[in-house]
């Protein structure tokens, strides 16, 4: 895939730091004449075409993994993902291409240099845990340090610390076969963490666990990654897992990487039919974020516009409430029509006095699953704000539903409150025109509306 190669042909990530791991044009062909097979594959031959020369497990893989990111390689069995990960730490030697970890070339390194790179830069977590059954949990976790020549007291102390990190303190002196699968894999992760390498390779690490434990482990991994800032290359055949864990995902098929992108890119813009078909069944609510579905917020007035300005916007947009922003477009809250109207009638020009600060707001990277409850409780659209409280957009209920069903939403302005609760246009006009005549908006307000005011 040419676009994959060209896209990843830069040695640095967007923030300018060097890639933690970089893979360039890597091939792996098992068989009698790997060289011939690589040449033919490079000319565009498929896996089946080179069956005579050998079996092509990985074809022209190129990508960079940025420091501190979780890079997921996803593919079905036989797609070459396990072969690919084994070339990253030199367990398998590529037929062509190069792999660099932390600036050191793994390919072409001598056996001794490769051992040194593994000890200092890259550790691994295995599908079936691969713990040493004749050693205790503590000794297993200390294994990497032991190989590294760290003295016994230091390595056991370090191992104990990491075991605490994965929550297995009380099991330190147990043998692995006394532990459940999930606990064994936590030992596997602790062993990899204790080795104090920057890069962690995880080969189908959670695939052997049952679904509930798997979910728990995924959350724990994300948590650990955020605390420790490790660079993780994670192999999986489970798309939901890939979407949940991955900062970026490489989708593999028949030995080739067919797309590299963020979970949302893969979901919303699949590179080909294969990927599209693949992502069909994914749980969209877990992958899509507030930022990817939010609508531009139109019902917004700066607090300097005053009650009259707010009322005018409400009339123009046919809505019963507007968001109010302060200096620098920071979100202050919202006001609803009857309060504003009362203020206009009273001749008060300070909109801030009636701003309601109780509303649902979320960060742009919040998953849709976390929006449902808020959407149920709040009649207002959910406000999406950045770290400085600036209003980025809004997510109304209808947008949530549309996003789940993969239906394009209408681009019409989004009313802040459901229209039924609105004060009639004529009343608004009258208020704006005169500002004196006492019109009781309460008459037209129903129960839904009261909930809204309370929210």
């Amino acid at each position: 895939m040419s676009f994959v190669s060209s896209e990843s042909r830069h040695d640095t990530s967007p923030d300018g730091s060097a890639a933690a791991l970089s893979v360039r044009g890597v091939y792996k062909v098992f068989g009698r004449r790997p060289g011939d097979a690589v040449r033919r594959l490079a000319d565009g031959a498929t896996r089946d075409d080179v069956r005579e020369q050998g079996s092509a497990a990985v074809i022209d893989a190129s990508f960079d993994v940025r420091p501190g990111e979780i890079f997921v390689v996803m593919g079905l069995s036989g797609s070459g993902k396990s072969t690919l990960i084994r070339m990253l730490n030199g367990l398998l030697e590529p037929s062509a291409g190069s792999v660099e970890i932390g600036g050191r070339t793994v390919t072409k390194a001598s056996a001794k240099e490769i051992r040194e790179i593994r000890r200092s830069s890259v550790s691994m977590v295995f599908q079936h845990f691969a713990l040493l059954p004749h050693r205790t949990v503590l000794e297993n976790v200390a294994y990497g340090l032991e190989v590294n020549g760290v003295d016994k007291a230091t390595r056991l102390a370090k191992a104990r610390e990491v075991i605490g990190l994965v929550g297995l303190d009380v099991w330190a002196d147990a043998k692995p076969d006394e532990l459940s699968g999930g606990m064994q894999q936590r030992v596997g992760i602790a062993r990899a963490l204790a080795a104090e390498t920057d890069v962690l390779l995880m080969d189908e690490a959670f695939s052997a666990l049952d679904p509930l434990i798997r979910r728990e482990m995924q959350e724990q991994l994300v948590d650990l990654q955020q605390r420790l800032g490790k660079t993780i290359v994670f192999i999986t055949h489970d798309l939901n897992e890939a979407m949940f864990l991955g900062d970026r995902i490489a989708v593999m098929r028949d030995g080739r990487i067919v797309q590299i992108g963020s979970p949302e890119e893969i979901l919303t813009d699949p590179a080909n039919d294969y990927v599209a078909q693949f992502v069909q069944d994914v749980d969209r609510a877990r992958v899509l974020t507030a930022a990817s579905v939010m609508e531009p917020a139109r019902a917004v007035v700066p607090s300097t516009a005053g009650p009259r300005g707010a009322l005018r916007v409400m009339r123009d947009l046919q809505t019963a409430a507007v968001f109010v922003t302060g200096r620098g477009r920071t979100l202050e809250g919202w006001v609803r029509d009857r309060h504003v109207m009362r203020q206009v009638k009273a001749g008060d020009t300070n909109l801030d006095a009636i701003v309601n600060t109780e509303y649902a707001r979320v960060a742009p990277d919040t998953a849709l699953t976390d929006l449902f409850e808020l959407a149920v409780e709040s009649p207002l659209p959910i406000a999406v704000v950045d770290a400085e409280d600036r209003l980025l957009g809004v997510v109304p209920r209808v947008t949530l539903l549309a996003a789940l069903g993969n239906v394009p939403t209408a681009t019409m302005p989004i009313p802040v409150l459901e229209p039924v609760t609105r004060i009639s246009d004529s009343d608004l006009d009258a208020t704006l025109a005169t500002g004196e005549q006492p019109i009781l908006g309460d008459l037209t307000i129903n129960t839904t509306d009261r909930t809204g005011a309370d929210a």
């Binding site: 367990l91 051992r115 790179i117 593994r118 691994m124 691969a130 713990l131 040493l132 004749h134 190989v147």
Partner: protein
């Protein structure tokens, strides 16, 4: 007389010539080997025959207790007492010394060979037919050159025993190491372990049950060779059986034969216990008093069934 179009392959003559060449030019080497084997044999025999019989029995019973528990200890005690009471004790100890030396050397040779065969397919393919050859060639056939090279005494018996008994040691070591989960070996490599460290810390410990089963088999096969060793002057229970055969002495033959069986069972149960999980080596209280030979333990029974001990004894 049948012949292949009058052609006769001079195989026998060739082997004759080879053995003669070896005797002439490598005689010194074989003298050294003989001296080493004799040294080991006499040293161990000294420790088994010099002390009073009860002292040796106490040591062996203690060993049985440590290996498995009180049932095996009791069985060992009764078995050895029977050997003493039928007057075969000193012969039994001579045979035991021969078995210990031969099995010890066979294990020392077979372990590295098994490791090598496990690491290299080519080595495995080469070693396999050689082992088949060693195991299936009738023992008397290589006893003849052994006699020529080492002379009468325990040494040709030891050599013949090593040749015959080595094969399962090599095979089960290879099998055990190849059977270690490739992912665990990969894990060792992934953390930067050298091949030697992987062998020492991962492959050998995990292959231990299989290797110990091999050691057990080596010892059993060694014991089955004592009769043949007896024919070339090694003495011991083998010597007694050969003497009984010459005199058609049924009584003596059966006494020596029973002694071989008792030694075999005691050694088998002990080595099998060492091969098992250490945790399971605690005395079990689940059953009533153990049978004299420890036959209440069903675990090693399948191994016992394969052993040619009764046939040779």
């Amino acid at each position: 007389m049948t012949s292949l179009f009058g052609f006769r392959l001079p195989l026998g003559n060739a082997v004759d010539a080879i053995v003669e060449w070896i005797t002439t030019y490598l005689g010194g080497l074989f003298d050294v080997i003989a001296a080493i084997f004799t040294f080991f044999y006499e040293w161990i025999e000294y420790f088994l025959t010099t002390p009073p019989f009860w002292a040796v029995i106490v040591v062996l019973v203690a060993l049985a207790f440590w290996a498995k528990g009180w049932k095996l200890a009791l069985g060992t005690l009764i078995g050895l007492a029977v050997i003493v009471s039928i007057g075969e004790w000193s012969y039994a100890m001579e045979s035991l010394a021969l078995v210990v030396v031969a099995a010890g050397i066979a294990v020392v040779l077979s372990l590295p060979l098994g490791v090598w065969a496990a690491r290299s397919d080519a080595a495995s393919r080469t070693i396999k037919p050689v082992l088949d050859f060693m195991q299936t060639t009738p023992a008397f056939v290589y006893l003849i050159p052994a006699l020529i090279l080492f002379g009468i005494g325990p040494v040709p018996g030891i050599v013949a025993t090593i040749v015959f008994a080595m094969a399962p040691g090599v095979r089960l070591t290879e099998l055990g190491i190849r059977g270690v989960s490739s992912e665990v070996v990969e894990a060792g490599a992934a953390f930067g372990s050298s091949p030697w460290r992987i062998l020492r810390q991962i492959q050998l410990p995990l292959a231990r049950p299989s290797i110990m089963a091999g050691v057990n088999q080596v010892i059993m096969l060694s014991l089955s060779m004592v009769v043949i060793a007896g024919m070339v002057g090694a003495g011991g229970l083998g010597g007694q059986i050969v003497a009984a055969l010459n005199r058609i002495d049924v009584g003596l033959g059966s006494e020596a034969g029973i002694s071989v069986v008792i030694l075999a069972i005691v050694l088998d149960r002990m080595t099998a216990a060492f091969g098992g999980d250490r945790k399971k080596r605690v005395p079990s209280r689940s059953k009533a008093a153990g049978a004299p030979t420890g036959a209440d333990d069903p675990a090693p029974a399948p191994q016992q069934a394969e052993q040619p001990v009764p046939a040779n004894a």
